[in-house]
């Protein structure tokens, strides 16, 4: 019996060594351990073993069963490992550097930057308003104190329409309606598309965007305006910029200012963006003219405030690095898609 056990074990070891697949392992398992397998066969021979040896033989046979089962499991694991390694190695390594070809959508750079600017104003409690592009002469000029003989009303500067309306020449055209809507105490931002009868070149457009804001309250001062502008520009450029006010002249405001900021690109040392001056002209502004207030039904003796207008396309050009303003309205996907959806 012992010999048979050893013989079988040797035979098993021999067969095991030659196995290469899990399938073969399972075949051998059946051959040795199955119901009609070789070990079972041997077990049935136990009844012929003398009684005094039965216990010892029984133990040996159990040992044989355990050994074979353990070795089969071990072999199986080994082969599975090999198979996994083979499977891994059979796949070519993925070139993670290969680009993904996907059509990427894009927002117009104006949209991206306008949203950023608006978010700053919303956080300051501003209402964001809209305005028509076709405006009445009254809203565009009379209501905002542009004299009847002002050159801006000339056909050389303004697109007049057959019905006597105009394509709005500045966002201020919405001021009267906004002041009437929101009353004497308000903070409103109104971005909009404006039109001027200009010949197009790299820095001149007949169709351009402005972002205008008004703040009306009691006892608003020039020093409030300076404070506000400084904080607002800090928000837009995410930098503490030096600002300076220079006298300006606009019919809508009195006094009027040109607001310059230290050029955010060179920090004031002078560069091509600021044409060497160290300053960027960013934002005409001023204290709202009393005539504009009273025309909108706001008592200028009680209330006052300021208005400002960001030359928005200029800001977009600065931020995007686009050197030609005409790209903005060009519909040229190649140019415009490169900005994606965030900047």
């Amino acid at each position: 019996m012992v010999e048979k056990i050893n013989e079988l074990l040797n035979m098993f070891n021999e067969r095991l060594a030659g196995l290469t697949s899990s399938k073969e392992v399972e075949e051998i398992r059946v051959e040795f351990m199955g119901k009609k397998g070789k070990v079972t066969d041997l077990m049935s021979g136990l009844k012929e073993v003398p009684n005094e040896q039965k216990r010892e033989m029984g133990m040996k046979l159990n040992e044989l069963k355990n050994t074979i089962t353990a070795k089969l499991d071990e072999k199986k694991q080994e082969i599975q490992n090999e198979e996994t390694t083979r499977e891994i190695n059979s796949m070519p390594e993925i070139d993670y550097s290969r680009p993904v070809i996907a059509k990427k959508g894009s927002l117009h750079p104006r949209t991206i930057i306008q949203k950023q600017v608006e978010d700053i104003f919303v956080s300051m409690g501003f209402i964001i308003e809209d305005g028509n592009e076709v405006e009445t002469e009254y809203n565009n000029f009379d209501a905002v104190n542009v004299p009847a003989t002002h050159p801006a009303r000339d056909a050389q500067d303004t697109f007049w329409l057959e019905n006597g309306q105009v394509l709005k020449t500045q966002t201020s055209a919405a001021q009267n309606r906004i002041l009437r809507t929101y009353g004497p105490k308000c903070k409103v931002l109104f971005p909009g598309r404006c039109f001027r009868n200009e010949d197009l070149d790299a820095s001149h457009e007949n169709t351009f965007f402005q972002i205008e804001g008004v703040v009306v309250d009691e006892n608003v001062s020039v020093s409030n305006l300076i404070y506000f502008m400084k904080e607002m520009l800090k928000g837009i450029f995410k930098k503490d910029l030096n600002v300076r006010l220079r006298p300006g002249f606009f019919p809508f405001t009195e006094p009027s200012f040109e607001l310059d900021a230290t050029c955010p690109f060179c920090g004031g040392r002078g560069c091509s963006t600021c044409k060497g001056s160290g300053w960027l002209e960013l934002c005409p502004c001023g204290m709202i003219h009393p005539n504009v207030l009273s025309e909108a039904g706001v008592d200028p003796d009680k209330y006052n405030g300021f208005a400002f207008g960001l030359g928005f396309d200029r800001l977009v050009m600065i931020r995007t690095g686009l050197s030609d303003i005409r790209y903005l309205n060009s519909g040229n996907i190649k140019v415009l898609e490169q900005f994606g959806v965030r900047m």
Binding site: T149, D154, N163, S223
Partner: protein
């Protein structure tokens, strides 16, 4: 406009103030200085000399000169036609710098030349290019003296943007600038020297007939026996440094006084013009101007005519040739007048002549200046030419006086508007320096505006605030925060939804947002058979053929598609923009904010594109705006849309636009490789539509079952029709239907196989197979009743 600091210094002592300081202060107080020229810095070692010998050089126009420069006699080869013995000249010696280049010993005509006799243009101090400068004989005593010691050649010239001085007519002359700088740096302003016009009171007056309302004041004066022809060198230098040319004394002197006091002047030859008529022009009037060009004068301009009613000048713009001064003129009529700024601007623009005079008149000049300018011109003329005699009294037609403006203000008002406490003394001294008359009664300050600021610039308290604040210095005002009421601002849905829609289109659907123009492109639309209307046109139709305002976005987006189609096989573009869809009862534009989408593909079928776009449009309506919308039968769509591939975006409340495939005619013209689907949505209206809030639906905890039915449906029957029928077969366990697919082959005739999935579930138990089978047979039986068979 160019401003010479030397000139300013005639009235204000600017010692100790650097040009950089002036620039900085001026920028912050008055207007931006755009450029600085350090004139004369490129001229050195040029001295006074005298030609003492002149010899011809064979086969050359050049002469060999011997020039005495005091310490030595130089041999110079010179080509100037006016070189002659005895002439006092400006000599650039070897080593000298002349307007950008260095003088060296040079071989000319085989002779060594030790220097150069200079022309005015070569030194940059005059306009004469015909020969060398002829210095007056009195300079013979100065041989060898550097000309910079004799003439104001070194100067700092500022260039100021004309536009930034639009509201300051008083700054269009050096004296006004001097007043501004005197105030800025707290220095004294010296009076400008003039003759006393009342001294001429006994002389005959000039007949002035002012028939035009556009002429506010016409003043003139005559003088005779003017013998000097050329302007003195310092005068020529100043004119040239300020961007003008020196021509002859009488022309120069009118320009000179204009640059000083800002009042344009004109000199008529008194032999030719003895009387003045100011009249409105009539249709067909023409004039030959000083430049020798004949201009048609538009009706409504103002003309200066002589006693015979012959036009002699376009008022405020340009003088006429025939009445103008010549080299022979010895008697002159000086004009100094004020006109309606708007009429001068209109005349100048429509004639196409923008002159130094018209630019000034456009700014609304002070009529009080006419007498000052005449008194000044006679003062200067008499200093240059002692023999000049004034032959008329100061003749004056002063038709329109501006009102004297007085403003009453308190220091408290000024301080509260500036945001800084400005002391009353500072306010008063500032205003006085600027020429205001100030009367302080302790409580209020009563201010009289000087005439040169009263034509349009200053009229109210806020203007005074500006004057005080800018001189006080905007950079000296401390920024101060102020309290805002803390009320959350509610934003307009049309605006917030616009961003949400754009982000959705650009991120989820990978589309490109484009911006276009408001024009309707008539030529493009015609070429591609796109029939679109413009309800409104520009008044000036010359605007590059695109004078119509668009009424829809799609034509422009198709133009963009056409322009980009060779770079991309798949295009998805959109714009949210304004269109004008008609005029209302008051004849005002009916403006709408639209969303236009164009999807174009070389690989997708028309059907695929249609449903892709339908998905996008409904995503915006349902998920961005939150309205319950779907496509419905569309009756009104543009003729460039395929009549069998179109749907209207509708909710129960209304209609918001359409989407559809492009009409084959337009599609083929654009590019037949592409299939194109478009949508035009009234975004403003959609964004303002009533939003339905989403309420949670109960979801069953028990396993659901999906049951597919494939029906044979007649082609005439739409999916919605099938669903209407199905909807009438009710069941407790039905949670909903969904579309799976549809399929058609030749054997099906006029029908198609439509697969619909039913989701079944109960809220309280797991469904039994009997329940499911009952539902199945019920549905099939219900459909059969409605003549719809299950597919075999």
């Amino acid at each position: 406009m160019k401003i010479s600091i030397n000139w300013i210094k005639e009235w204000v002592d600017l010692d100790g103030i650097s040009p950089e300081e002036i620039i900085k202060r001026f920028n912050l107080t008055t207007a931006e200085i755009e450029g600085v020229e350090y004139r004369g810095s490129d001229v050195s070692n040029v001295v006074v000399g005298k030609i003492i010998d002149l010899a011809d050089i064979e086969n050359s126009k050049n002469h060999l000169l011997k020039v005495d420069v005091g310490s030595e006699v130089l041999q110079i080869v010179c080509g100037a036609p006016n070189a002659r013995v005895g002439l006092i000249v400006c000599v650039a010696k070897v080593g000298a710098n002349v307007h950008g280049f260095k003088i060296t010993e040079a071989q000319r005509n085989g002779i060594t030349s030790y220097g150069m006799c200079c022309g005015a243009d070569e030194l940059g101090i005059g306009s004469d290019t015909t020969g060398i400068i002829e210095l007056p004989l009195e300079y013979e005593s100065k041989l060898g003296t550097d000309i910079k010691e004799l003439f104001p050649i070194d100067d700092v010239v500022f260039e100021i943007d004309n536009k930034s001085l639009t509201n300051r007519p008083d700054l269009w002359g050096h004296y006004g600038m001097a007043r501004e700088l005197a105030c800025m740096f707290d220095r004294e302003l010296k009076p400008i020297k003039t003759v006393d016009l009342s001294a001429f009171e006994g002389l005959p007056s000039i007949n002035i007939q002012n028939q035009s309302d556009g002429c506010y004041r016409y003043s003139c004066l005559t003088a005779e026996n003017i013998q000097v022809k050329k302007s003195p060198i310092p005068m020529a230098i100043k004119l040239n440094y300020c961007g003008m040319r020196d021509i002859n004394l009488l022309a120069d002197i009118t320009n000179y006084v204009m640059l000083e006091v800002g009042q344009p002047m004109h000199a008529f030859d008194n032999e030719k013009v003895k009387e003045i008529v100011v009249a409105d022009s009539k249709e067909g009037d023409t004039i030959l101007t000083l430049e020798g060009e004949t201009h048609e004068i538009p009706a409504g301009s103002i003309l200066i005519e002589d006693g015979n009613r012959v036009p002699v000048a376009i008022a405020g713009v340009k003088g006429g040739m025939l009445s103008g001064i010549t080299d022979e003129t010895t008697s002159v009529l000086f004009e100094s007048a004020t006109f309606d700024s708007a009429r001068i601007r209109k005349a100048s623009r429509s004639i196409g002549l923008i002159t130094d005079a018209s630019q000034r008149y456009e700014k609304s000049l002070d009529p009080e200046m006419t007498s000052l300018a005449l008194a000044r011109i006679i003062e200067i003329l008499k200093n240059i030419d002692k023999g000049v005699a004034v032959t008329s009294c100061f003749s004056d037609n002063y038709k329109y006086h501006y009102d004297t403006k007085t403003i009453t203000i308190t220091p408290e008002f000024i301080s509260s508007r500036v945001g800084v406490a400005v002391p009353a003394e500072t306010i008063i001294s500032t205003l006085v320096k600027l020429g205001f008359t100030v009367n302080n009664n302790g409580k209020e300050i009563v201010i009289t505006v000087p005439s040169w600021r009263a034509t349009k610039d200053i009229s109210m308290k806020e203007d005074i605030v500006e004057e005080v604040a800018r001189v006080y210095g905007y950079d000296n005002i401390e920024p101060k925060p102020f309290a805002f009421p803390s009320i959350p601002a509610s934003q307009m849905p049309s605006h917030t939804n616009e961003y949400a829609a754009k982000y959705l289109l650009s991120t989820k659907y990978n589309m490109n947002e484009l911006h276009s123009y408001i024009w309707s492109y008539a030529d493009f639309n015609k070429e591609y058979s796109i029939d679109t209307k413009s309800y409104l046109h520009l008044l000036d139709s010359s605007h590059s053929g695109n004078s119509g305002i668009r009424s829809e976005l799609i034509p422009t987006l198709l133009k963009f598609m056409e322009e980009n189609k060779n770079s991309y096989p798949e295009i998805g573009i959109y714009e949210i923009g304004r269109v004008v869809t008609g005029l209302n009862e008051e004849n005002l534009a009916n403006e709408e904010k639209h969303l236009g989408i164009v999807l174009a593909s070389t690989s997708k079928s028309q059907e695929e594109l249609f449903f892709e776009l339908k998905g996008i449009v409904l995503d915006i309506a349902k998920n961005v705006v939150g309205v319950d919308a779907d496509l419905a039968k569309c009756e009104n769509f543009p003729s460039y849309i395929h009549p069998r591939g179109v749907g209207e975006l509708k909710t129960r409340e209304g209609s918001y636009g359409y989407m559809g495939l492009l009409h084959p005619t337009v599609n083929k013209k654009l590019d037949k490789r592409f299939n194109v689907a478009v949508a035009e949505i009234n975004f403003g209206k959609l964004a303002d539509a009533r939003v339905f809030s989403v309420k949670a639906k109960q979801v069953s905890k028990f396993q659901n079952v999906i049951l597919d039915f494939t029906f044979m449906v007649p082609d005439s029957m739409k999916y919605a029709d099938v669903m209407n029928i199905l909807g009438k077969c009710r069941s407790k366990i039905l949670r909903g239907y969904s579309y799976v697919t549809e399929f058609k082959n030749d054997e099906m005739g006029d029908s198609r196989a439509l697969t619909i999935a039913a989701e079944l579930a109960s809220f309280d138990h797991t469904l039994s197979s009997e329940e499911i089978e009952t539902f199945r047979t019920d549905v099939i039986a219900h459909m059969l009743k409605n003549k719809i068979n299950l597919k075999a």
